[in-house]
């Protein structure tokens, strides 16, 4: 072969190196996550100020303030805001607002909420005064923005929004859900046949699904042929918070991670070996060609 063809080949190699480096850079930057310094703070979730454009377009846009908040004077003729009150400017309205108000219109929903895990946690929190690791036990306002939530939102939009709102207190579960097929298809690729949080854990029931028969029932909504073992498939496949899982899932999870780790090591070793082999062979062959 003449040297001309070697040049051609090397030029081609160069054209290839650029995109590969670029791709590597992209992968790394995507894997690295967002930079650590403080980004511009976003507007607060709950604010003293109600954006009327959003409010009037929301599900509650036809309601008057007083419908939910009551008149701004209580029985002892205290005005609003009450400077003397011990919770003046100190308490999050989500902790003080009487969400029984929501039950006036959303009766069934409110009853279901009262039966669920979140309400139980709230009761416990009120009794003991202890706040759990995930934060305050959620009331209506922690998940739903009563001022801004729109009505008749599509299934996909609702699912995406709930992934975020559940994820504020359960970030590990959110991440492991998004690493699972359901999350990828449902949230990332907007496939409305995939299950979102409440499809398994129940809307407002907030079931923990530790119990296998209960889990199986939820699985069977979409997988009618599922059997008992099927409920042992781990959706939230993450070592974080594994202690909250049932024992069979915990032992399964440790095996999954061990084998997953082994296969990871395996592919890294194989690739390192073969890449260096190919690179060295390539160098030697080009060297030989250049010497001819």
């Amino acid at each position: 072969m003449q040297t001309g063809s070697v040049n051609k080949q090397q030029r081609f190699t160069i054209r290839l190196i650029g995109p590969i480096l670029m791709a590597g850079f992209l992968c790394l930057s995507a894997a690295g996550g967002s930079p650590a310094w403080g980004t511009a703070a976003s507007a607060p979730q709950s604010s003293w100020f109600v954006d009327m454009n959003q409010f009037s377009a929301s599900a509650h846009g036809t309601l008057k303030c007083e419908d939910c908040h009551g008149p701004m004077i209580d029985k002892e003729k205290k005005s609003h805001p009450d400077e003397k009150s011990p919770i003046y400017l100190k308490q999050d309205p989500k902790r003080t607002f009487d969400y029984g108000m929501c039950g006036k219109c959303h009766k069934k929903t409110y009853e279901r909420y009262l039966k669920g895990e979140h309400a139980k946690a709230l009761e416990k929190e009120k009794k003991t005064g202890e706040i759990s690791k995930t934060g305050f036990a959620p009331t209506c306002g922690d998940c739903h923005s009563s001022h801004f939530t729109k009505s008749h939102v599509s299934r996909v939009e609702t699912g995406k929004a709930m992934t975020e709102s559940c994820g504020t207190c359960h970030p590990d579960q959110r991440n492991s859900y998004l690493a699972n097929y359901h999350g990828k298809a449902g949230v990332n690729l907007e496939h409305d046949k995939a299950a979102y949080c409440t499809d398994c854990h129940g809307a407002h029931d907030s079931m923990s699904l530790k119990d296998t028969p209960q889990t199986l029932t939820t699985c069977k909504r979409c997988h009618p042929d599922a059997t008992e073992n099927f409920a042992d498939i781990i959706i939230h496949d993450s070592a974080l918070n594994a202690d909250k899982k049932s024992e069979s899932k915990q032992s399964g999870l440790s095996k999954v991670h061990f084998l997953g780790f082994l296969s990871y090591i395996f592919i890294v070793l194989v690739l390192v070996l073969f890449y260096s082999h190919s690179f060295l062979v390539m160098l030697r062959k080009i060297h030989e060609k250049l010497r001819k």
Binding site: N7, Q10, R11, I14, F25, L28, S29, A31, G32, G33, S34, P35, A36, W37, G38, T39, A40, A41, S42, A43, P44, Q45, S46, S47, W48, F49, V50, D51, M52, S56, K64, C65, E66, H69, P71, M72, I73, K77, S79, H80, P81, E83, L89, K90, Q91, D92, P93, L280, L283, R284, I286, H287, L290, R291
Partner: protein
């Protein structure tokens, strides 16, 4: 709303508000007048302290006007004020709770007055134990301290305070309008420092051990709570203001002395500003230029296109030649030489795979760092807001840390390999001269101190381990340094100057010794290409 209307205990301030509205309507009948009146009222409330009658906090004043309570307040024409809303009833809640549009002057004024309503008072305090910490912000003072920021809303910067519990978690943000300083004014460790820590007058600073971030502290050295309500700015032209962090045994892990910025010569391996940095960099560059001129002078001693005497003519003739080559077909030939022979080192590969590998470890790594540094510097100059550029100037960012450590490691391996070749294996083609040793020592020390410097930076700044894990050499080295128990923020300046000195030495040495091949060899390749010299015919 009916219930509200008939409620006998209707708040005093509401009536006062209604009375005021009616007063305005009595005085003016047109909408324009209403708007003017509202602006006047808001301005009055906001800017002059005298007319700032606070409905919330002045119950006595309202009580004196009790007679007005019974005044009928139905079908208020004041509805015009909220006419844009679909609600028929006067939504008094929204008089305060309507989200102000802080993009407009009107919204800014009304939202400012909302905040000043409480914060202008001396009684506006935060309790810290028994002590009361002032949260008072007086508008006149604020205008004096922040003459430009007086035209924006408080909640423009204090994004997350307009809620209960009424405290800021994210602090005031500046970056919606201002971009971070680049490598020149504040090199990358300062990316972790809150703007206020430098730009505000308050002297106490603190390190957040969880994020490694530095911000103004709300307790002083003795542990007493201090007020941060003053918006007075520090004089940034005064370098002593840097000594708020850069002093001996400082709490934030800053180097104990104020170091100069990187110089433009650092572009060889780092993103660098267009500044001299330290005078020694300038001196090094001058020596470098002198060396280049000396070399050129030496070259022009010879004949150029037949001309023997006039240097002026020689320069003219040679530049003519270069010009005509660049703008001819030959340019592509030169481009090929550049890519294949210079970047990919084809000729060295032809000589020996082993020599190519060793040289590539050093050369390609430095070259890639140069490319990365140039890309970062230029990119940051044009787009300092882009996430990618911010990531690239941050040496703790996963990609940047990994790339820098990996390429540094390659250089060290290359140098080590060269040393082994030269002193242990000693093949026939290697003739060791003092120049070779010097080049190896300078580059080797430069990179080695660089790694030490990185480790000392990680060890002293107290960045959490998970943020530095990508610096796969710097982080373990930092752990080792940490065990040694030295105060690395005190050692850091010495290391920095040592690294800078080695860099200056390398630059100054480039045109003289062995390192001259960086220019000579490519030049030779180009000339050979132009002159059509075949390989092996070289003199």
């Amino acid at each position: 709303m009916e219930a509200f209307e008939s409620c006998p205990g209707i708040t005093d301030f509401e009536h006062e508000r209604r009375r005021k509205r009616e007063k305005y309507l009595m005085n003016s009948k047109t909408i324009v007048a209403i708007v003017v009146g509202v602006i006047f009222f808001a301005t009055l409330a906001a800017i002059t302290m005298t007319s700032g009658r606070n409905e919330f906090e002045n119950p006595t004043a309202v009580a004196s006007e009790d007679a007005l309570v019974e005044q009928p307040a139905k079908t208020e024409p004041a509805d015009d004020l909220v006419a844009a809303e679909p609600v028929i009833e006067p939504l008094v809640c929204l008089d305060c709770h309507r989200s102000p549009n802080i993009e407009t002057n009107e919204g800014i004024i009304s939202s400012q007055s909302f905040c000043y309503d409480c914060h202008k008072e001396k009684t506006c305090v935060r309790k810290s134990g028994t002590k009361e910490i002032s949260l008072q912000v007086v508008q006149q003072d604020f205008i004096k301290q922040q003459p430009l920021h007086q035209y924006i809303a408080c909640i423009h910067c204090h994004k997350d305070v307009s809620q209960s519990p009424h405290k800021s978690l994210a602090n005031a943000q500046c970056r919606e309008c201002h971009s971070v300083h680049g490598e020149k004014l504040a090199h990358d460790p300062h990316l972790r420092v809150a703007c206020q820590a430098c730009h505000f007058e308050s002297k106490a600073v603190a390190l957040n051990p969880e994020t490694g971030a530095v911000s103004l502290a709300n307790i002083d050295k003795k542990g007493n709570a201090i007020s941060l309500s003053s918006h007075a700015m520090a004089d940034m032209t005064d370098e002593t203001s840097c000594e708020k962090c850069h002093f001996s045994k400082n709490p934030v892990g800053a180097p104990t002395s104020v170091l100069p910025s990187k110089g433009f010569i650092c572009i060889m391996c780092h993103s660098a500003p267009l500044a001299m940095g330290h005078p020694i960099f300038g001196v090094a560059f001058l020596i470098f230029l002198m060396g280049v001129f000396a070399t050129l002078y030496f070259w022009y001693q010879g004949k150029v296109c037949g001309e023997e005497k006039s240097i002026h003519k020689k320069i003219g003739l040679s530049s003519e030649t270069i010009w005509s080559i660049i703008f001819s077909k030959q340019f592509f030939g030169l481009l090929k030489v550049f890519v294949l022979d210079i970047i990919l080192q084809r000729r060295l590969l032809q000589e020996s795979v082993q020599r190519w590998f060793m040289h590539a470890l050093i050369f390609t790594s430095i070259f890639l760092r140069l490319v990365l540094g140039l890309f970062t510097s230029v990119g940051f100059f044009f787009n300092p807001e882009s996430d990618m550029m911010l990531a690239l100037i941050d040496k703790n960012y996963a990609f940047t840390a990994f790339a820098n450590d990996l390429l540094g490691l390659f250089i060290i391996i290359g140098i080590f390999w060269a040393v082994v070749q030269r002193y242990i294996i000693k093949p026939a083609h290697v003739k060791t001269e003092i120049q070779d040793n010097l080049a190896l020592v300078i580059i080797g020390l430069l990179v080695f101190i660089g790694f030490l410097l990185e480790a000392a930076r990680i060890a002293s700044t107290g960045i959490p381990a998970d943020m530095t894990s990508s610096a796969f050499i710097g982080a373990p080295l930092a752990a080792i340094l940490g065990v040694m128990g030295l105060d690395w923020s005190a050692v850091y300046p010495y290391l920095w100057y040592a690294h800078g000195f080695m860099a200056a030495l390398l630059i100054a040495y480039l045109p003289f010794g062995k390192m001259r091949h960086v220019f000579n060899t490519p030049m030779t390749y180009f000339i050979e290409k132009v002159a059509g010299v075949k390989r092996g015919e070289r003199v």
